[in-house]
Assembly symmetry: C2
Homo-oligomer: 415 residues x 2
């Protein structure tokens, strides 16, 4: 084993999830237990905390409070959406990062996030190598979107999928109570990949979920969808639709843009929202049906009270594996999961090249979308169902979740 | 005891809740066990099922499946929003109801709903008395809105409050992750009474909830609220606002109307929606802050996975008590709860005059709103906290809730 002594730094980036802190706990607990790890720091707001020399001293946290991270949603250390420029164009940020790493003698760096965060992680890793600064760098995946390449699935997806399927099932029950008929449109997150919206099918397969599911993987045809909604409504007196915020037509125009202009964030992503409202309005305008448009909004990524225990356990495992790999000498990788063959679900963690996962997007395979384009096949159910198994063991106090309250004491550099 | 032999009819009306079916189970199980009850029927879609001679035969349901009603959201028998005319004006519906009651020999009638449903229940009760048709009639309260007079609180509120407080707490965690600042507006149900929105304070009292809470009980001043939001944002870098869909200004104009026209439902209620979006847009327009508007929408009343076990137990008790009262000779009443004095929370059921509860609305006492108008006092917390205690024992199958699937077999009249 290639023993490397030094401090460990952990950061979180991108949109939070219900289980990203379970990964944090996996990293932090495992790092705290390593003889070769001299100190454990957390970034305040991801890479921005490095640039601003704003790190937390994790050893000063109460271990019992830290342990509650397993069930606490959102990024406990703070997140950011900061995009590093290419070091060839502008290396100011990279020089600053190297300076801070040297100041704190950081030799282990773990970065917890999605595609963009893995891009950040990859760039830092390649830059430090180019500067011959020895540091083991492992990405810890998270994203509710499940769009990271190189892994069977991504921590965060299972809990979001469980929340979405549960909510769709509950809405299905609610929306069917009157004999007067309603069309309910549930808009679900997912700019380019439809994994989250597809999770609605887990409820449909149990007989109480969306009648129609529209993913961004297939072009959305407004006329066809109106005919489909009308047909379902006429047949069973109600219609429940699940659609991705990012559905677009054959010309590549977002349905959300049909009704409104869209803004653009720092990564050049279009800010979505509005596809569900637009479709609901169209249904009302054309058919006069009673309609309701529901956006699951932030709760998809933070409803820890409805998290999947399988997802929580795997998120922790991803964090723990990252430290184990780094300590054993691995660097410049992301932790991924390999699903094992056989009838009983199991995964083993593996190391994936950071470059593979950075900035690629894994979409729902077209062959998992039913031929009519409005449902998912058994293959998708077989894939997703194991990921939502198990109810969270989240502790409650006073009738509400008892989430971790960290002290977040600012670290000072070692002498 | 005044023994009365005959059939029992149970119906559900108005908007569903997470626990209305627990009340249904309380009625149905208790009625099925009564010697004097010759048959147990359920109304398909409330009073409309009576008018259309569309009743279900409850004895044909599998008892184990029926028992799952305890944890199943929404109105399992179907609901309606049908308003009976005054019998003095038009007694056609009443004559039809009497005809159906005679046809099935219905001598026990239980109606499960909110204000409007208690009005229906009251009108049927008074009419049947005027016709000397002996029938014991008891209303079983339900409403997430908690606005029924004559009872300490109403089954359905505790679960909605638990879901709202939990969601606010989770959104609070999520909305605080970036260092760039966000204003999140959560719009919560409640046309005239602010009980549901006030439930957000249960999270605030635990240090992770809305900074500002606006109820319809106090006039909403747009300029003042903008100053309050700006002040919070400048102080802590983020701001979480909870507001009722029904907030209105000092002139009585709904804030939702500021931005849009509103439609009107069969009871003359204005259809709400849009107050949150309006306030969010104002914040963005005036200050340029990043904003997000979230409507909790239908999930407030159907998120059974986050129900309060206290509420579930009380909802069942309300149904059971209704039958016990009727069998013992009581009629023309609604079941209410009387909170017992002392440090440990407990309630005892009681009989309340139907006329008291019909069409009155109980609002949040003004003295429970903090003097600055944007929070709740300890008195409110002491009132509401016991109602959200206990996590639902809802069974799961395949990672999703296992809700009741009734056969709903149409009843035929006895020979």
């Amino acid at each position: 084993m290639n023993q490397l002594k030094g401090a460990c730094l952990f950061g979180q980036s991108g949109g939070p999830t219900s289980v990203i802190n379970a990964s944090a706990l996996g990293v932090l607990e495992t790092a705290l237990g390593q003889e070769c790890v001299t100190q454990v720091y957390g970034c305040a707001h991801g890479v921005k905390g490095i640039l601003e020399d704003n790190l937390y001293d994790v050893r000063q946290e109460d271990p019992a409070e830290l342990a509650l991270l397993r069930y606490t949603p959102s990024s406990a250390l703070g997140s950011c959406r900061y995009k590093l420029k290419d070091s060839g164009q502008d290396d100011a940020d990279y020089k600053r990062i190297l300076e801070i790493f040297q100041k704190y003698d950081i030799r282990y760096f773990f970065y917890n996030g999605g595609n963009d965060s893995m891009d950040t992680c990859n760039k830092i890793s390649k830059y430090l190598m180019s500067q011959n600064y020895e540091c083991r760098i492992i990405g810890v995946p998270k994203t509710i979107d499940n769009d990271l390449a190189g892994t069977d699935h991504c921590p965060g997806f299972g809990s979001a999928a469980k929340y979405i399927a549960t909510s769709c099932m509950e809405i299905y029950h609610d929306a069917n109570v009157y004999d007067t008929g309603t069309v309910v449109i549930v808009e679900i997150m997912g700019r380019n990949a439809g994994w989250l919206t597809a999770a609605g099918a887990l409820a449909s397969f149990q007989g109480a979920g969306p009648d129609l599911i529209y993913l961004p993987e297939r072009p959305f045809d407004l006329e066809q969808s109106m005919a489909q909604i009308q047909q379902i409504y006429q047949r069973r007196g109600n219609c429940l639709v699940a659609l991705s915020e990012g559905i677009l037509d054959a010309s590549g125009k977002f349905i959300a843009e049909y009704g409104q202009d869209v803004a653009t964030d720092a990564f050049g992503h279009k800010q979505m929202g509005g596809a569900g409202a637009f479709v609901a309005n169209e249904v009302k305008r054309r058919f006069g049906y009673k309609v309701r448009s529901i956006e699951l909004s932030l709760l998809q990524r933070c409803a820890a009270h409805c998290a999947s225990q399988t997802d929580i356990d795997e998120a922790y495992l991803a964090g723990k594996t990252a430290v184990d790999l780094a300590v054993s000498g691995v660097t410049d990788k992301m932790v991924g999961f390999e699903r094992q063959p056989g009838p009983v679900y199991s995964v083993v963690p593996k190391a994936v090249d950071l470059a593979v996962t950075a900035n690629t997007e894994k979409k729902v395979p077209l062959e998992w979308i039913s031929s009519d384009g409005v449902g998912l096949t058994q293959d998708f159910i077989d894939y997703a169902l194991p990921l939502i198994q198990g109810e969270t063991q989240l502790p409650f106090a006073n009738g509400l979740p008892r989430f971790a309250q960290l002290k977040k004491i600012k670290a000072s550099a070692p002498k």
